[in-house]
């Protein structure tokens, strides 16, 4: 049984919030407060177990944040299919395109709209909804 969502979030309250939302949706989550911890948890997965489907990555965390983790994930063939979302309080003009250009599949700014978040998460998790980027 795989864990469908990886969450990188160092702020305890915000981590808790997402976790609560995910538990309300009955979605399991692998959560980490820093890049190294997240990476260890990904490495600890059984070799033939499927990777998480979605990674919700905060940008500003210890260990280089979401961008650093994104690089490691993208460089790992067995994680290549992960859908990575920048979930961040960086919401100045240009931030969204900056993260998309860096390789994120989607972007959601904080504070999140809880209903919008849940809708979006469902589409991220839908394996038939893979864009042809």
């Amino acid at each position: 049984m795989t864990t469908p969502v990886l969450l990188l979030e160092d702020d305890p309250l915000n981590r808790r919030l997402v976790c609560e939302l995910l538990s309300a949706m009955e979605v399991d989550v692998l959560d980490a407060t820093g890049v190294d911890e997240a990476w260890e948890k990904l490495q600890a997965l059984e070799p033939d177990a499927p990777a998480p489907i979605v990674g919700l990555l905060d940008i500003q965390t210890p260990g280089g944040g979401g961008l650093a983790l994104l690089e490691r994930i993208r460089a790992t063939p067995r994680l290549a299919d992960m859908r990575l979302v920048a979930l961040t309080a960086y919401a100045m003009p240009g931030d969204e395109s900056r993260f998309l250009e860096a390789g994120f599949d989607d972007y959601m700014s904080k504070p999140i709209d809880t209903r919008a978040f849940m809708t979006a998460l469902r589409s991220w998790l839908d394996p038939g909804n893979r864009g042809g980027a």
Binding site: L13, E20, A24, A91, M92, P111, T114, R115
Partner: protein, 919 residues
């Protein structure tokens, strides 16, 4: 040493002249006949021929003619010496080519002098130097003669100043000694006159003073003496001084060949009485004058036209042409009117005298008078003329010197001015350099400041949003009762938390937005937007808000709105702001209208009218100031940050427009957004299809650079043309009338600045959009010269297209459009796909429409055989190939694929069409 050939049948004349020539060191060969002369000439050429007219074996004129016809002797000086004092003979001689014509009897000294002048025209004699002494003391002359001859000099002397001057002119001595005290004109005056004479001005002069007259030499030096000596002094000193002066002259100046003005004077006497004429001529010749006689006025005039004279003696009463008439004719001729003219008349008649003077005569002498009187008057006239000439020469000399001086002064002033300008320029350059440096520093500082500010804003935003996330998120979780139901109070309280949190978030967003505008951080993302889209979106957002507050809301909008080049997000934000304000301040049952008006070529106005509480007049000014919330009217406490209007006004300003407001308390307010069509917001490309077809002229001499710019322009749907020199640029501007020009500064023939200046000077191109695209980072210079915009290489595609769009070019961009090319006609479709990818948008090739739609495309390019059935609205459809199907509105022919800009324009138009379809 030149030889003189003396041809005369009179032995007396031959003897006299040969002796006279030899006395001044000139060889002379006498010939008694033409035959003898011809033999001598055949043997060797002399330096001068003195030629009588009446000779036993013919006329001297015949020999003169022979000499003039032979190229070897054409320039040989010939002096005619004739007893034919008659005018016609003289004229014949002068016109036959004689260098001089002297009448017999002649003045030997004058003749020799003139002969020397003619000789010096052909060569320079290397004779012993001739010294002329002018002294009235016979003892002194004898002494000088002895000393100088002993020392090897040739010697000549004169008793008076006047004689001395005449001799100086005739003999052209190498040096002149002038006694200070002379009868008549003084020594100093003699020297002064010598210095005035063009032929004698360089001859060194020594002024001799008595040992007792101390200081007397001063006037002599004033007059131009080169040296002075005391008489009765040491002769060795005299010789040394003479030697020194001659050495100084030697080589320094070859003797001036200019004729002297002080030679023997030639007198023309005109009288019908030959007896009187003969007597007069004899008298005057004795005085050393060269006398020409004429028996009528006509003859006199004929002579005057051939040979100049120094004075005219004119009989008053003559047959045919009277003296009076002759005089008038002479005075009417500018070349001879200055010659002194003296009337002669038989009787002493008052009337005759008056008539003569009236006719222009200078003097009047009765024939009855003594010849001595006549001579004295003649001399007086000659002297007067001399003075006048000298005076004139003196004035001319002064004028010449003054002119030289003023030229020198002007040159010096010019140089000084130049130097001053140069210094000024350098100072200004230095100041400019300093100013530039200061500006650069200020710019760096400002940029640094701006970087700090935007980093601060980004951090602040991040730090505020992080806790807001938790507050809103958890309160929403509670509110949604995802983890158990809440009682009514709990639900109410959580609702307060949620709405307050959202209010706080709006506040944060407003503050950040405003700060970003302040920091210049908000950048407009302009695009060509159909106005309906903007209005429609605002309407969609505002309508639910209005119905919630029970406010009637309507939109009043004309049908064919223009497309505007603006940032749709920002304008929507402004309209939403105005609409939500209007709705907020309008009580239940009120009305809000959004009214759109277009004033062609001026502006688009979007007015938001409400029937709310209104605004006090004194508050209108403060309305758009941030943080200045106005006092509520009627107890309605506005809810908001007070930043919305300030921000809206700034955003509209960034579009070169403004927001105006009208209001009446109790009746309502109207806020109007004015968006000018003239300041680049309008899309003239749409308004003026003709202009859209004209190219953008790319002026760049570097082919690679030109190609890059052309590529960028074509990807914006713009036709292009290229010029690589300034000349070509001017020609193509005239021929193509481009819609805009991109101009490189460095061109092979002329620089871009001058091209720009020329374009701006001509009325036809004064308004032509010109974008400088240069390696040089001198935008100020470019903009000052009239550039419409200035881009520094390397330019980006976006930068270039944005600049041109701002200048009203119809830039059509499709770069983030997802295009799918559908069909099976491989080569055409491949070409289309390649062309689309070349424009910068992702293009995929698929076989059928259903597969294409799974890619959620923005635009489909359909092959000729593909049917467009099942394509939902909102997706642009472009047909490839020439054949059209029903419902096809846009198509690209294979020829269109050759030009990127057409592909872009067609896709863009299709996209516009698709998004404008009512949903």
């Amino acid at each position: 040493m030149s030889r003189v050939l003396v041809v005369d049948d009179s032995l007396t004349v031959r003897m006299d002249l040969v002796e006279a020539f030899e006395s001044v060191g000139i060889d002379a060969e006498p010939c008694a006949s033409l035959a003898e002369a011809r033999r001598s000439l055949a043997a060797s050429l002399p330096g001068l021929v003195v030629l009588d007219v009446q000779l036993p074996d013919g006329s001297g004129f015949d020999l003169l003619a022979e000499l003039r016809q032979d190229s070897a002797t054409r320039d040989l000086p010939v002096m005619i010496l004739s007893s034919e004092g008659q005018v016609d003979s003289r004229i014949r001689g002068v016109q036959g080519g004689a260098s001089e014509y002297v009448g017999k009897p002649y003045d030997t000294t004058w003749l020799i002098g003139r002969a020397r002048e003619l000789l010096s025209d052909v060569d320079d004699d290397a004779d012993a130097p001739l010294v002329l002494a002018i002294d009235d003391s016979a003892t002194q002359r004898a002494m000088l003669s002895y000393v100088l001859t002993q020392a090897g000099y040739r010697f000549a002397s004169a008793e008076t100043g006047e004689e001395g001057l005449r001799l100086a002119a005739a003999l052209r001595p190498q040096l002149i000694l002038v006694d200070g005290m002379l009868p008549g004109i003084q020594g100093a005056e003699v020297i002064r006159r010598l210095r005035m004479d063009p032929g004698l001005r360089q001859t060194p002069c020594i002024y001799l003073t008595g040992s007792y007259d101390g200081g007397a030499e001063i006037p002599a030096f004033d007059a131009g003496a080169d040296s002075f000596l005391e008489k009765d002094g040491d002769n060795t000193v005299l010789l040394t001084r003479i030697g020194a002066l001659l050495r100084r002259m030697d080589g320094a100046a070859t003797r001036d060949a200019a004729p002297s003005s002080m030679g023997s004077k030639r007198i023309l006497a005109i009288d019908d009485s030959l007896t009187y004429l003969q007597a007069l001529a004899d008298e005057l010749r004795d005085e050393g004058y060269d006398v020409v006689t004429a028996s009528s006025g006509a003859e006199g005039l004929a002579l005057l036209s051939a040979q100049p004279v120094d004075c005219i003696l004119l009989d008053m009463i003559m047959p045919e042409m009277s003296g009076e008439e002759t005089c008038q004719r002479i005075k009417a001729d500018a070349s001879i009117r200055d010659i002194p003219l003296i009337f002669l008349t038989a009787r002493e008649e008052r009337e005759a005298m008056i008539a003569g003077i009236k006719a222009g005569a200078d003097d009047y002498i009765p024939k009855s008078a003594d010849f001595d009187v006549l001579k004295a008057r003649l001399l007086a006239q000659l002297r007067r003329k001399q003075y006048e000439d000298e005076n004139r020469q003196f004035r001319e000399e002064l004028l010449r010197r003054e002119m030289e001086a003023s030229e020198a002064r002007a040159a010096r002033e010019l140089a000084e001015t130049r130097a001053r300008l140069l210094a000024d320029l350098e100072a200004k350059n230095a100041a400019l350099g300093d100013a530039n440096e200061a500006l650069l520093r200020a710019k760096d500082a400002a940029e640094q400041q701006s970087r700090y500010k935007s980093r601060f804003l980004a951090n602040m935003s991040h730090e505020l949003r992080t806790p807001m996330n938790a507050i809103i998120g958890f309160s929403e979780l509670l509110e949604q009762e995802l983890f158990g139901t809440l009682n009514d109070k709990q639900k109410e309280y959580v609702g307060h938390v949620v709405s307050s949190a959202h209010y706080l978030l709006n506040l944060i967003n407003d503050i950040l937005d405003l700060s970003k505008v302040e920091a210049g951080k908000i950048e407009l993302r302009r695009e060509l937007v159909p106005m309906e889209t903007v209005i429609g979106v605002a309407e969609t957002v505002a309508a639910p808000l209005a119905s919630k507050r029970q406010v009637a809301f309507s939109v009043d909008c004309p049908d064919d709105l223009p497309a505007l080049y603006l940032d749709p997000t920002r304008i929507k934000q402004v309209l939403y702001n105005l609409l939500s304000n209007a709705i907020k301040f309008t009580p239940n049952g009120g009305r809000v209208v959004m009214r759109v008006e277009v004033e062609p070529e001026v502006e688009v106005r979007i007015a938001v009218e409400d029937t709310g509480v209104g605004i006090r007049e004194e508050d209108l000014d403060r309305l758009f100031k941030e943080f200045e919330q106005i006092e509520p009217i009627g107890g309605v406490k506005p809810k908001g940050t007070g930043l919305g209007l300030a921000l809206s006004q700034r955003l509209v300003h960034m579009h070169n427009g403004h927001i105006s407001v009208r209001s009446k308390v109790g009746e309502g307010s109207t806020f109007t957004v004015h968006l000018p069509l003239s300041a680049g917001l309008g899309a003239p490309g749409l308004a003026d299809p003709e202009r859209r077809e004209r190219p953008v002229l790319v002026v760049d001499d570097d082919p690679a650079s030109a190609e890059l710019i052309v590529g960028y322009l074509q990807s914006g749907g713009l036709p292009t043309a290229v010029a690589s020199t300034a000349r070509e640029a001017m020609q193509r501007v005239g021929a193509l009338q481009p819609q805009a020009v991109t101009l490189d500064v460095r061109l092979p023939d002329e620089d871009g600045w001058s091209v720009l200046a020329r374009l701006r000077q001509e009325a036809a191109t004064a308004e032509l959009p010109v974008v400088i695209v240069s390696m040089l980072d001198e935008p100020n210079r470019g903009l000052l010269l009239g550039a419409s915009d200035y881009l520094v290489k390397p330019v980006t595609r976006a930068g270039l297209l944005d600049a041109l769009a701002m200048l009203g070019c119809a830039v059509a961009r499709v770069d983030d459009t997802r295009v799918v090319v559908v069909g099976r006609s491989a080569p055409l479709l491949e070409r289309a796909a390649a062309r689309v990818r070349g424009v910068g948008c992702p293009a995929t090739r698929l076989d059928d429409v259903a597969a294409a739609l799974a890619w959620s495309p923005d635009c489909l390019l359909l092959g000729p055989e593909v049917h467009a059935t099942g394509v939902p609205e909102g997706i642009a459809v472009v047909r490839l190939g020439t054949r059209l199907h029903d419902g096809d509105r846009h198509h690209l022919s294979p020829e269109d694929l050759e030009e990127t800009h057409r592909v872009v324009r067609v896709i863009r138009a299709a996209l516009d069409d698709a998004t404008q379809e009512p949903a």
